[in-house]
């Protein structure tokens, strides 16, 4: 099984920078290029921001799990929330950014939680 790193934080915007930090720290460790790391940072930020936005309040916990396999990085993140809170849709601006930054991304509303996923193939330096 490939290594996984997970970050859990309250559903509040001030913690999203920690998700960016962990994503870029992890990516730097496997020598992904600065361009790829920058793309990764913004994609993680966009998706985690969507989860925080969708959460009922800051007592909900966002969990973001990162996995690196070969030259791909994957994130799966979720927050407890029901579709009754309004099913969450990524707006055009965020959508454009995500499409430019990563290879795949999706938001999926399950019965009790909203799940975000993304994958990106990265180049390495050295």
């Amino acid at each position: 099984m490939p290594d996984e790193v997970a970050l859990q934080f309250p559903a509040a915007f001030e913690y999203i920078r920690l998700a960016r930090l962990v994503a870029s720290g992890l990516a730097a460790q496997v020598n992904f290029t600065l361009d790829d790391i920058e793309d990764l940072r913004i994609a993680v930020d966009e998706l985690c921001s969507a989860l925080v936005e969708a959460a009922a309040d800051r007592s909900s916990t966002v969990t973001a799990t990162f996995r690196i396999e070969d030259h791909q990085i994957h994130m799966e993140a979720d927050v407890p929330t029901t579709a009754a809170n309004g099913s969450y849709v990524i707006d055009d601006i965020s959508s454009h950014i995500l499409r430019a930054a990563v290879d795949r991304h999706e938001l999926e509303q399950n019965a009790d939680r909203l799940v975000a996923r993304m994958s990106k193939q990265c180049l390495t330096v050295n």
Binding site: F13, E14, I16, R17, R20, E38, R41, I42, D45, E46, S49, V52, E53, D91, D92, I93, S94, H96, I97, A100
Partner: protein, 106 residues
């Protein structure tokens, strides 16, 4: 007025009313603070905003939405919100999101 944090700085310049310096990381958290500062400046009668963003190291869709919001509040005129000294990353993001036209660079 100045709002600071480890991650960002948002400051309205006394010497140039309507100019806001935004440095560091303009994510959703910082964008909320920027919205507050914009509202204060609008209440004080400012009719155009200059965003001095040479020191911006990160901006996401929340940051862009904050700029769009400011422009709307100023009646969507062509020069409602102008950008000073945007870096390559910011210009690329405006391009990707089709917002280049709305934010003239000075």
């Amino acid at each position: 007025m100045s709002i600071e944090d480890d991650g960002f700085v948002i400051r309205s310049l006394e010497s140039e009313p309507g100019t806001i310096q935004v440095g560091g990381e303009l994510d959703a958290h910082a964008a909320n603070k920027l919205d507050d500062l914009v509202d204060q400046l609008l209440a004080s009668g400012v009719t155009n905003l200059v965003m001095d963003i040479g020191g911006l190291t990160f901006i996401d869709s929340s940051g862009l939405r904050s700029l769009i919001r400011a422009r709307k509040r100023l009646g969507d005129q062509p020069n409602a919100v102008v950008l000073r000294d945007p870096q390559a990353g910011t210009l690329r993001l405006l391009e990707i999101t089709g917002l280049t036209e709305q934010f003239p660079v000075v």
